[in-house]
Symmetry: C2
Subunit: 430 residues, 2 copies
């Protein structure tokens, strides 16, 4: 009979420190729920300063991950170093050593999830990742268990706090992208290297994880069409407002028979929709299902304790299984024959913003290019932008059209002598 559950932690960054704090300060309540005490046995962190600032005994702290991965009295390894390598290899070694693994690593799960779940299956251990999407919002388990009887048809989600914070500030204050990003970095809402967030890759990883659960398949990040927010200008918010829209970076997955479209890009969404009202660092996930109807999950998608909530819940679930002497992982078989719909075939409405000389006949030529590519215009705003230079801004909202048609039209518009610049192009959703 086991006396306790040994926990090993890799990484003492923001999330790791939060997890260590929860495991220590809530030890009594967690022990009661798990049936056995949860003992944080070893914490590996390379950065000596982070080790110093942790209020953990020197026997607990180490700079060597191997001391966690092969510790005989560690049952559960929590991987919180992030990034692709060596995080993936650490998870593999933990599993190969017969340990259960908990991770918040969306990149590793999105890229290697299937491979790692198979490995865990072979070693009869559990690999949990509730914190990888939406942090403390109960998503992974809801998809795995409470929605298990449903067929999920659509996901619309705001999954990245950094980009949503930047877009919210831009919308509220009329600032441009670069200065808003800079402020966000100063306030700690964006990282020094923000590429993963602002280019949409972080969101795409999360969409892959949710889609694989929703559609029971094995998509990878390359299956997601991905565009970031750095091209959004203050002006775009003004026009969005005039047409009754907000601008958000959305993760979108839609199933149509055996085809799934998956895309991450900025969108115009109706200002009165629920997702339009999700501001700042909040996340929201809207799911359409056949039985449960439309569900929305809302909460903070980042932060030390937010992630710790999900990670410690994963640890508790595994600890209960260990206590009961069982390995009862909810299995979702990823065996559905669904394919990715090519982006070129995706149909949406579009917002186009063009700069053109302010003279007669310009709109006629632009309209002709769109019409030639089977794109119908639903509204147009034309406005003087620079009196001296006699240039105008032309903003066009289209009816639904195929992506390949719009891409062809954009190429042709750029070559039109009467178009100075195709300044932006944003898809409309909802």
């Amino acid at each position: 009979m086991k006396k306790d559950i040994g926990i090993g932690l890799l990484g003492l960054g923001t999330v790791g420190s939060g997890v260590a704090e929860v495991l220590v300060t809530k030890a009594d309540s967690l022990a009661e729920q798990a049936g056995l005490p949860l003992i944080l046995r070893k914490v590996a962190e390379r950065d000596v300063n982070k080790r110093r600032s942790a209020r953990l005994g020197p026997d607990v702290l180490t700079s060597n991950p191997e001391e966690v991965l092969s510790h005989p009295e560690i049952d559960i390894v929590i991987e919180l170093i992030g990034g692709e390598h060596p995080a993936k290899e650490y998870i593999e070694r933990a599993i190969a050593n017969g340990k259960h693994a908990v991770t918040a690593n969306k990149e590793v799960i999105a890229k290697y999830g299937y491979e790692l779940f198979s490995l865990a299956g072979e070693h009869n251990t559990d690999l949990r990742y509730e914190a990888s999407v939406g942090s403390g919002i109960p998503l992974i388990s809801s998809f795995q268990q409470e929605l298990a009887a449903n067929k999920i048809s659509v996901i619309h989600a705001i999954l990245n706090g950094t980009t949503n914070y930047i877009l919210t500030r831009m919308a509220q204050e009329g600032l441009d992208f670069a200065s808003t990003l800079k402020q966000a970095q100063e306030l700690g809402y964006a990282e020094a290297d923000p590429a993963n967030d602002i280019e949409g890759r972080d969101t795409a990883y999360k969409l892959v994880i949710l889609s694989n659960l929703a559609f029971r398949t094995k998509f990878v990040p390359q299956d997601v069409y991905c565009e970031g927010i750095s091209n959004i200008a203050a002006q775009d918010f003004l026009y969005a407002g005039e047409f009754g829209y907000a601008i958000k970076l959305l993760a979108i997955a839609k199933r149509d028979d055996d085809e799934v479209e998956m895309r991450v890009h900025p969108v115009f969404i109706p200002r009165d929709s629920q997702l339009a009202k999700v501001d700042g660092v909040y996340n929201a996930i809207e799911v359409e299902t056949d039985l449960a109807g439309k569900l929305v999950f809302y909460g903070e998608g980042a932060g030390s304790l937010r992630a710790a909530s999900a990670i410690v819940a994963d640890v508790l679930a595994i600890a209960r299984n260990i206590y009961h002497g069982v390995n009862n992982v909810p299995e979702i078989r990823l065996n559905q024959r669904v394919t990715v719909k090519p982006m070129s075939e995706v149909k949406t409405r579009y917002y186009l913003r063009l700069d053109a000389p302010d003279r007669p006949g310009v709109l006629a030529q632009i309209s002709k290019v769109l019409g030639d590519n089977a794109i119908s215009i639903s509204s147009v705003i034309q406005r003087e932008s620079n009196l001296a230079a006699q240039t105008a801004v032309i903003v066009i909202m289209t009816y639904p059209a195929e992506e390949q048609g719009i891409q062809k039209a954009l190429k042709q518009l750029k070559q039109l002598p009467v178009v100075s610049e195709v300044s932006n192009f944003i898809r409309v959703e909802g």
Copy 2:
């Protein structure tokens, strides 16, 4: 080795028919997820017409619940007859016969949950009730598992579709309560006997269930202060709008150290809050936690397939445990020493609507009564209501005050010669 999982169903009403339909039409997908086929062996329904309309074999249908409760090849009994008796006794007999039970019965779980969980523990069986609150919205399991590491401090929730539908229609169309209720009944959104819904009892049952999970204790429906919506008038919506509020029937639970206040009553809530925007038959549950922060769950809280989503998920969870040969029920120990805060000590702001003769000094006398009871006024609207009769409507918004003070003041106001009527009195939340 078991060949299949036998299911027995009690009740073929709206929800029962939905569950039967899902078990039959999704049999293949469910079998794959459970590891074994789920066979609907027996369905007990007293009403011969309901039995006739079900597309189930005559060997499956019966009018005798005992054929379900003691069937040797039934592993899981789903109780969907609703109401207190004999539903409670059926669940007891199922458990006593060694069967697992799944129910959507909020009344039975709110009143006898602890007793039934103990019985299930003794018989080593599982009792699940995900559909009892919020239908297909994953709440029970989220409270039991994903939020297990959290201390929950506040719940604000819209938990009853009928009352929310009525309040939404009244707000949008300026109709009075009685005619809106009648329309809701004609459209099937309110029952012929709507008392349980409109008096708030249904909501109170659900609040007890959530509170017991959130605060890990054993509250019963009598612990909840409960007021319904039948006293809300079209006028109240007008004044709510003027002050920037919506009117909703909220379930509220707040923990303050070892005391919990639990109440169900109509409230003024700020029009731009998330709950204010939950319209029609939708439900929403806002939870404040120490680790995960503020979370909101949103979805349809009623309907045949909505409930079936949760019920079949419960069945799947039990079936997986049977397949794995384990009984792994997440245990939440209901052992916290928390007591119910008396309603008289609850502090909120208040909206008061009074009818009074339109003559000098009236407001002064009303203000004095409030002041004598330590209630400060934050705003007042006084308006002629009937020119001929020279009466006025006086609407008062107060600063936070204790319920016992306001109740005393209301009694005194009713006795004031200058007050013709205390027409309404609604608490303000948020």
